[in-house]
Chain length 435, copies 2
Amino acid sequence: MTDIPDPSPELLQRALAVRRSALALGQSSDGQRCEAVQAMAAALEADGAAILAANQRDLAAAVADGLAPALVARLKLDPPKLAAAIAGVRQVASLADPLGRRQLHTELDQGLVLERISVPLGVLGVIFEARPDAVMQIASLAIRSGNGALLKGGREAIHSCEAILAALHRGLATTSIEPQALALLTSRQESLAMLKLDGLVDLIIPRGSNDLVRFIQDNTRIPVLGHADGICHLYVDQAADPEQALRLALDSKIQYPAACNAIETLLVHRQIAPSFLPAAIEAFAAAGVELRGDAAACALGVPHAAQDQDWRTEYSDLILSVRVVDDLEMALEHIASYGSRHTDAIATTDPLAADRFLAAVDSAGVYLNCSTRFADGFRYGFGAEVGISTQTLPPRGPVGLEGLVTYRYRLRGEGHIAADYARGVRQFSHRPLPL
Amino acid sequence: MTDIPDPSPELLQRALAVRRSALALGQSSDGQRCEAVQAMAAALEADGAAILAANQRDLAAAVADGLAPALVARLKLDPPKLAAAIAGVRQVASLADPLGRRQLHTELDQGLVLERISVPLGVLGVIFEARPDAVMQIASLAIRSGNGALLKGGREAIHSCEAILAALHRGLATTSIEPQALALLTSRQESLAMLKLDGLVDLIIPRGSNDLVRFIQDNTRIPVLGHADGICHLYVDQAADPEQALRLALDSKIQYPAACNAIETLLVHRQIAPSFLPAAIEAFAAAGVELRGDAAACALGVPHAAQDQDWRTEYSDLILSVRVVDDLEMALEHIASYGSRHTDAIATTDPLAADRFLAAVDSAGVYLNCSTRFADGFRYGFGAEVGISTQTLPPRGPVGLEGLVTYRYRLRGEGHIAADYARGVRQFSHRPLPL
C-alpha cells in the first residue's frame, strides 16, 4: 500500500481558500452562477490560442515519451474540440439551478416550521485522466452547482490544465464569484495528500481506471463518487424478437466498446439459442468482435471457449462472452453473481418476463428492449454528466448536477423548546405544507 | 491499527443468505412488509417472558462485571420498556412505504421511457451499543424498507439480542418474508470481518461512540452512515429577546446533555452580553451546568476560563463553553472553524441577521429561535430514526426510512439503439412525463 503523505501547510492553505470561496459561492444567486459560467466560457474563448499552444507542448512531450496513441488522442485539443468544450461550458450555464429547491416543508407545531433545502456539497476533489476537455466540463459543473473544486489533471496534460485554469480564473475575476473557488493541483504528492483533506473536501470524484477508483476508496474517509466496474449484460429471452435482439446486442457491444455501459456478456435462452446464435455469430464476426462461449454456445458455433474469469471481466474491447441459460431465473442468477450492478437489459416480447427482470435485477439501470449504451447523463436528459456511479447509495447511475448537491434542514421557531414536548405541554402537528 | 480479519466461510455463507433473502424482500409488496413488521411485533409480545429472562441474565453478568450504571440502565429491559419498544415496531409498520416511488419520469424519445424508482439499499450492517430496544427498532426499519440486515449488538446484551432475534425470526416465519433476511452477529471478530463484506453489505450503520464511527470509516470501503461529532452552537444575537434566548440556551443544553444535538458552546454578541450573561450564569448554575468562558465572558462572571480545546469538545455533559463575539460575522467564523456541521441556532428578532445566519451556516440543521434539541427524526415527523448523519452527502441530519433506500433507473424501449442518435438519425425529446 502506498503511503499517503500528509497535506503540506501550503496545500492546507490552498484547500482552506477554496473552502472559504466555496462557502461564499454557495450563497450566490442562480443568476450570479450562470453569469460566472458564461464568463468562464468567454475567457476560454479569449485564451484559445494560449490554451492550444500549451496543449501543443503537452502533445510534443507525450509523443516524445511514447504515450499510447489512444491517450494522445484524448490529450489533444484542436480548435473544433476546444470550441465543442466551450459550447459544453455554455450549456452548463443553461441547465436548471439545482440549488435552493425546497424538498420538504412541514409545520412541526404552530410557529415551528421545518424546511429541507438543496445546498451545494462544498468542495469537490476531482482526479482526472489527461483530458483537458474534462477539466472545463467539471469546473463548469462545480461552479454551476455552487461548489468549489480542487482539480488534479493527468500529468501529461499539465500545461493544458494550467492554461485552462488561468483562463477560468481570469473569467471568474470579472464576476462576483471568487476565482479561488477553483484550484489546480499539479503533483502526485498533492493529489494523494488531498485524500486526507476530510473536513475540507466533501466528495472525491476519480475519473480514471477501476484500479484508481479502488485505490482511492481504500485510502480516504471522504466519500468517493465512482464506478469500479461496468460488467453489463444483455439477456435474450425465449420470447425475444430475434432481429431486434441482435440489433440491441450489436449496439450494446460495438457502438463504443471502451465505454463502461457496453455489454461484456450476452445471455441467451436455450430455446432461442439455436435460431438466434448462428446469425449473431456471423454479425459479430463481421463487426470484428471475438466471441467466447460456454459449452452450449460453442456447440452452436461460438469459436472460443470462455473461462470462468470471462464472466467477471470488463473487456472494454471488441470481445464478448456468450452463455446459454436454461431460463430467465438462470439469467437473473448469472447477473446477480457476476454483474457489477451497472446496467443490464432484457430483450423480450413477453410482458411477464419483462416485469420479472425489471423488478429482480438490482442494478443502477435495468432496461427492456433497448441498448445498454443509453446509460449516460446526456441521454437521460441531465444536460451534463459528472460520471456514472455504481455505488448503491444515491447518487447512483449517471450523475448530473443533482449529484453535486446535498440538503440542509432549516427550522424557524418562536422560542420553541424541546422540554415542552417531552413534558406533554405541547404536541407536534407534523402538518405537511406546500413545497 | 487493528487488523481486520477476513470473513470466515461461515460468515460469508450467512451474509450471502441475508443478501439473497433481501433480494426477495426488496420485491415484496407494501402490504407484505407491513404484515411482516406486525408479525415481528406479535412475536416479540408472545416471547416477552423469554426476552425479559434473557435480559435478566445479561443484567446479572453486567452487574457482576461492574458495568457503569448508565450502561446498565440502557441494557435493562423491563415490561414497560419492552412494551414501548414493541409499540415502536408497530408504529414502523404504519409509516408510509418508502419503496416504489417514481422520482423521475421522462420520455427520451418516442417509445423510449425512463423512470427512476426508489428501491431498497439491499443489506444493512448495523453495529449497536448494548441496547436491546435499538435492535427491535432497527430490525423493523430494515424490514419495512425492504432491506436485509446483519445486526451486531454490544456483547453485554448478547442473550437479550439472541432472544429478540429468535422472536423476530419466529414472527417472520409466519409471513411471506424470509426470516434469513435478519441475522445476528455475535462476536467481535465477526463484526470486524463485516467491514470487508463489500458487495454483500451496502451500508454500515454504527451506533456508538465517535471513536467507533471513525474506526469503521477508516477500515471499510462500504459507505458508513454515522456522525462523528455533535458540536452544536447557539448564537445569542444583539437583537435577541433575552428571556427567550435564555430559555433556548437552557433547553438546548440541559434537556438531555448526552444527546448529540445538545449545545456545547454559547456565543453571545458583545452588545447583549452585559445584560444577558449575568442572568444566564445564574440560571445555568442553578441547573448544575459548569460554564467555561473566554476572557470577556469571565469578566462578566463566567467562573471558569475556557481553553482553545474547549471550543472543539463535545462534552456530552453539563458543561458549556461561552464566548463573547464582536458580531454575527465573528459568530459565523467561530461556527465554521469549530463546529461539526450538525445543528446550530441563532436567537434574534432581526430578520436580516436571521437570514444571514440561515444562509451562511453550513450544517445539517440551521435553526432560528428554537432549541437545537429538535434535530431528531421523530420531532421532524419521520416517525422513526435510524440515526443522525453529519456527513455532507445525503442522507444528512436525522435519517428516517427514506435514508434506507436508493433508486434504480428503468428504461423501456422498442428496440432503440444508441447508434441512431450518434448518427443523427433520431433525436432525443427529453419530454417530462407526469410522476
